[in-house]
Each structure stands twice: as structure tokens, then as C-alpha cells.
Subunit: 414 residues, 2 copies
């Protein structure tokens, strides 16, 4: 069963609001195992809404059209759907009674413009409104169907869950479920990851249609995510298959995996620290509080995070952290900063960053040059050189990710 | 000139990510006076990408296709565009050299899969990549054109601004210029601002079509922006009219305005510090490095920013910053933290934050409770209580904005 989504509203075409409705609908369709190949956005224009609906019906079994059911003159989805069905609008007494009821409950008189919201294409059935004034519509077009829902996110979500998805599942007759799992990795490039996973991709390809799919998503502040999607007849077998594929990817990728789904590298490091009963401190130069801020963004960080020193000015590095006077973009400075942070903040473990965020060079080194030091109990404090490219914020984000991963790797090796 | 947007990615169809790229592109097209009637989202499927592109070219003069230029096997936009153009892909030596340069700068070996990113449809020209590895493509199709850009938001935005919009404007030949100015405010709500500006809005309405327009955009981490847009026949008169409207808004809104366009509250505070020859330090508890990180994100911060103490654990507040043992979510603690930061980091001016980011209560205070202290030379250190609501990250972002504005207000009053 194939479903398309048409979002209606000139404000979408002008980029004034983000179309989250289509995302929510798409995600629910996928969860129910319903395929969606195209999504369209169109403005408040009769001819173009009609054309978008006809095009969608030419490619799919059902269309969900979202928006344009309000009371004002630019809300014309009802008229467009009626034109596609080849029928007239009629004022529905049940919809009308519901409207009067809503306004009576609000103790205000109903503006005449709201009457239009009781107009329905002949042959359509109603999806009763609960929070808003516009009813939804189920509009048969031959053996196909158009569902019309309001653009208000809560009203749309309500009607989707209570009326449209059950109707679609009844029509499709197939109780398939689609489930995904995100496997989060760091320290390995998207292309390298794809190269490693290729044999697995090829094996899945040989399984043919219906086999799990694997996709890659790169983010310079969070690493690369491997997303596995499985389609199955029931929840239990979907979950089993996801588990098998996750295990296969973990075998291939190894320790570069730091978590799944909502886990962050900070939460992964946090869990390692808690398991070992260790506390953490940071000393930051060019990342300038970003590392601390990412750590604090994790709920529960107070169990292990002592705090940090943002030693932006070199003098702060010398006087507060005990860095020797001299170049500060160096491995030696990073090591001294990490040791200084442990001592000053009374922590067991520390990360320190020093480098050049740009746009100018510093100590004759180009933007993107950096040293990261990690200190753990009973081992030497180790500095690692790194190189990054791009804007100031990108360099800082990437360094923060690298820094967290260096600590993660050391904690895992203990 | 009519432009359509095609966003490519199965993750969009599965509702796994929100398509903000189309929104950004649409908003920029509108700003430049270019019409957009349809936007389409399609998955990583050759036949369907080709069909979406052909459909869009049947309705518009130009198409911007976003996504599917990565190095992995599911990135097939290059192939689809070549099919629509009826040409082959060829490996471009300039694109190839740029790729090698990027990997050399990152000091890592280029995986073989990245070679594909140097493949371009015959007859297409390149949009040089800056932050990412994929170049953009300008692909003529008869008198029409397809622009292909990566799906990474910052790479897309860069290519849109630097290559695509100028090319579209040159093609459209329209002598009209549309220019906008963003006036950034803080400490005043969107509805209050709209109320104050209403008389000006009404005056512009009376001018009729072609008059400047005013829109409001609220952000909890940057305050409310008043965006003025003017359309004119030439650059000089557009600029004059923008200046007049900016002056009118500034007269109405007063000191709540902290800057225009790309200026941030951090750059505004930075300019005040530089003008007065003062240095800055911060002491942060629940904002946990966010304030320092925002300050460091401003190029040139090294001229005035000494550094910060992230005193996340109470013990760090007591031992390092000299806060008296007792409750730490208090005005007294905030004052002691600000004074301690000045002393410890050798700064003239300091900001300190202490509060409850949540989700749990702390010292029997609910999430969103906070105290912010500011210290300036020759005046008392003053603590201000604040309340915020929402998620942990929202409370921290809002507090950082409030803290910067409290310091800005004190520096202006000096």
C-alpha cells in the first residue's frame, strides 16, 4: 500500500514555517509499514492543489492532504478535493452541529466564516474534530482515497492516529511493521564506514526486496550514524532482526560504536565514568566551554562532572593551570592543562584542549591545529595532535567530539 | 522566474529527519523575489529522482535539488541529474584535486568511495566545496537549469548564497532588488514588540503594495528579531529605505536593540568591553560552559575574554571561587562566584550563573530558577533572580542570553 503526503500552505512555500507535519505523518506511515515515495508541498492555489492531488493519486493508493481546512478565504482544500472527486460541496448537518457545540462550549458567538468548515465534498465521511473547529475528511476517489486533515499539528496528529492509520491498515490488509535502529559511531569517516559495511550490504541485497536496509548519516559534531531499518510482519520478529543486524554492524565496526538511538558520546563517557567511580574535569582553550557545555547537557552529569577551567587567555593557562611559559598550542601545554585541571578541580580524570579555532593563525600555526590531552588515574597524561578544517564553529565542534572520544577510548582500554 | 525545490533522501520519506533545507531555500528564494510553487521530497531511488526532476522542470524554469551527493552507494543524485540531462558522468580533474586537498589538510587517506564525488554530468559546472567534500553542480538542461547541492545544511547554505542565488538573479534579469535587515532585540516579548510597532505597520499598510514589510521572529537563545524587507529598483534606494525603517524601529524599541543582521549579543558586549578597555571572565554553574562557549564563538574574543570557571560541583564553588558553604542556588552564591572569577582570572568584569537546569529540583527549587550576578569596576556586584521554563537545554540557552544582556545593560549605564 502506497501513500503520498501533500502539505498545503503558501507559508510553507515562502519558507516561513518548517513542514514538521509531513515528517510526523511520514514517520507514522513508516511505523505502520506503509510505503511513501513522494511528498509534495503546494501553496493556497486551487489549480495547483488539484494538480498535486491528481499527480499523487496517479502514483499512490492513498493521499493524505494536510492544511487548508481553516475558516478563512485562503483555506481551499475542501474545494480542491471536491474538484478531484468530481462532486459538489454540501453543508453537512453533523459537522454543523459539532461546530455550534464547540462555540457554545467556548461561550462565544460563531463567526459566519466558520460555517464553511461544515462544507464537505459529496460522498466524503467525517473525521470528528476534537481540539479544533475543522473536521477531517475521508474522501473516496474510485478505489482510492484522499484524507484531508487540518494543518494544526495536534489536530492533525489526533486524526492521523485515531482515524487515518486504522483506515489505511484496514485497506492494506497487511499488518507489516517497520522499525529502525541508529548505531552511533565516532572516529571513522562515512566513506570508510560504508567500505567496511559493503559486504554486509551486498549480502542484504542478495536477500532481495524486504531485506533490512542500511543508511549512513554524517554529522561533524556527533560522528556518523548507521541506520538499520527492517520491515516485518510483527513486532517480535522486527525486533529480533534489528538485534541481529545491529550485532553484525558492531562486529564489523568494533569500538568505533559508542551507542545507539538517543545515546550521545557524552552519555557514553558518563556511563564509563560512573561504572568506574571516577570524576571528570576539563581544561579548555579554543573549545572555550563547549566541551563542558556538552557534558553538562547530559542529565545526571552531576554524578561525575566536577567542572572546568576555560583558559582562553594564555596568562590563565600559566597562572591558574601551571602551564610553563612558552607556546600554548603544543602537546606540552595540553598535558599541563589536563594535570592542572585534575589538581585544581579535585578530579580523577581530565580532558584538555588547546588549538587554533581561526580565522587567524596563532603561534604561526593554521586554524584547525589542536592538541588534546587526556589524564586517567594510574597512567601517563597523553597528548594527541589533531587537524580539522572548516569554520571556527566547525573546528570547535569537531575538536569537542574528538576529545570526548579520546577519553572514551582510554577508559575502554583500562 | 519560477524555481522548484526537490529534497532527496529516504530518511525524509521515513520521517527520520525534518526537511529544514527546503524551508531555508524557500525563504531565500522569496527574499530574492523568485517564485516557488511546488516542493517535492523523494527517496534515494534513481527512477523516482529522475521523475521528480523531470516533473519539476515541466513546471518551472529552474530546480534546486538538495541531498544525495555524498560518497556512499545510496547517494545517486549525480547519476539522476545526468540522466535528466541525457549525458554521461565524467571524473572532473578540478573536483578531484579539491578532494585530495581536503583529505591532505585533514591528514587522512582518502577512501576510494570519495572518488565518486568528483564525478560530474558532462556539461555541468562546479560550485566549489568549502566545508564539505561534495562540490555543488550547475547543470544546464536546454534553457533551464538544475542546481545540485549537498544535504548538509551549512554546505547547502554556503552554495545557495554564494553561487545559486546570484546565478538565478542573473538569469531572471529582473532589475528589482529585495533587501532585508534584521534588527535584533532582547528583553522584550514578541507580542509586546508587535504591539509597539503596530502604528508603524499601519502606516506602511497605508502606503500600499511595494511598501517595506516588517516581520517578527522569536528565538529563546537570541531574543526577538524584527526583519524589515524592502523591494526597490536599485541598490542605493533600497539601502536608503532600509536605513529609514531601521531608524524608525530603533526609535520605537530603544535600548532593547542590541544589533543588526549578523551581530550577536556576544559581539555587542565585546564591542562595549573593547571600547572601555575592559577584560571579561565568567563563572558558571548550571549553564556549564555555555556562556563561555558563546563568548568564544565570537571572532576577536581574545582581545577581552580571559576565561571562565565551570563550577558545576558545589565543592568547586566553595574551594575555588570562595562561595560560602550553604545553598548554592542563591543571590549570595552568584555574587561570590562573580567576584571569585574576577580575582582568580584577573578580569575587570565578570558574569556568574547559578541555577537549576532540571529535570530534577535542587535545594528544593524548581527547574528554571536561577541567579545571575554581574560585576563591573567601581560598582557593586549585583545579583538578579530569573525564572525560565522548558527543557534543560532551553533553560540554559535562555539564561545565557539573559546573562549577556544584564552585562550589556550595566555597561551601557556606566
Amino acid at each position: 500500500m502506497r501513500v503520498e503526503i501533500v502539505a498545503v500552505g503558501t507559508e510553507l512555500l515562502l519558507g516561513q514555517i518548517v513542514d514538521t507535519n509531513s515528517t510526523v505523518i511520514a514517520s507514522e506511515l513508516a511505523r505502520c509499514g506503509l510505503e511513501c515515495h513522494f511528498q509534495t508541498r503546494v501553496g493556497d492555489n486551487h489549480a495547483r492543489i488539484v494538480s498535486a492531488l491528481e499527480l499523487a493519486l496517479g502514483r499512490a493508493d492513498a493521499v493524505i492532504v494536510c492544511g487548508g481546512l481553516g475558516p478563512t478565504q485562503d483555506d481551499i482544500t475542501r474545494e480542491a478535493v471536491a474538484a478531484v472527486m468530481g462532486v459538489e460541496l454540501r453543508r453537512d448537518p453533523v459537522a454543523l452541529a459539532a461546530l455550534y457545540e464547540i462555540f457554545t462550549a467556548r461561550a462565544i458567538e460563531m463567526p459566519a466564516s466558520n460555517l464553511r468548515q461544515a462544507d464537505v465534498p459529496d460522498g466524503a465521511s467525517l473525521i470528528r474534530q476534537r481540539s479544533g473547529t475543522a473536521p477531517g475528511l475521508i474522501c473516496p476517489v474510485g478505489t482510492q482515497v484522499i484524507y484531508a486533515v487540518p494543518g494544526v499539528p495536534e489536530e492533525m496528529a489526533e486524526m492521523l492516529a485515531e482515524a487515518i492509520l486504522p483506515d489505511l491498515q484496514a485497506r492494506s490488509g497487511a499488518p507489516a511493521v517497520i522499525r529502525s535502529r541508529s548505531i552511533r559511531t565516532v572516529g571513522i569517516s562515512e566513506s570508510k564506514l560504508a567500505e567496511l559495511v559493503t559486504p554486509r550490504l551486498e549480502a542484504l541485497d542478495r536477500e532481495g526486496p524486504g531485506a533490512p536496509t542500511i543508511a549512513f548519516l554524517a554529522s561533524f559534531s556527533e560522528g556518523v550514524t548507521v541506520r538499520i531499518t527492517v520491515k516485518s510482519s510483527d513486532e517480535a520478529s522486527a525486533s529480533r532482526r534489528l538485534g541481529e543486524e545491529e550485532a553484525a554492524v558492531r562486529r564489523i565496526v568494533g569500538a568505533a560504536v559508542y551507542g545507539t538511538d538517543g545515546e550521545t558520546i557524552e552519555s557514553a563517557v558518563g556511563a564509563l565514568l560512573v561504572a568506574r567511580g571516577l570524576t571528570l574535569a576539563v581544561a579548555e582553550s579554543f573549545t572555550g566551554g563547549l566541551l563542558a557545555s556538552r557534558i553538562v547537557a547530559t542529565p545526571g552529569a552531576s554524578a561525575y562532572f566536577r567542572g572546568g577551567i576555560v583558559a582562553y587567555d594564555s596568562e590563565v593557562k600559566f597562572s591558574l593551570l601551571g602551564v610553563e611559559r612558552g607556546p600554548v598550542v603544543s602537546a606540552e601545554a595540553a598535558v599541563a592543562m589536563a594535570d592542572g585541571a585534575c589538581k585544581l578541580l579535585g578530579a580523577d580524570v581530565a580532558i584538555a584542549t588547546t588549538g587554533v579555532a581561526g580565522p587567524e593563525r596563532q603561534e604561526d600555526r593554521p586554524p584547525g591545529t589542536a592538541f588534546i590531552a587526556t589524564s586517567v588515574p594510574g597512567g601517563p597524561t597523553i597528548a594527541t595532535a589533531m587537524r580539522a578544517s572548516g569554520s571556527r564553529s566547525r573546528i570547535r565542534e569537531y575538536a569537542a567530539l574528538r576529545a570526548m572520544n579520546l577519553l572514551r577510548t582510554r577508559l575502554l582500554a583500562e
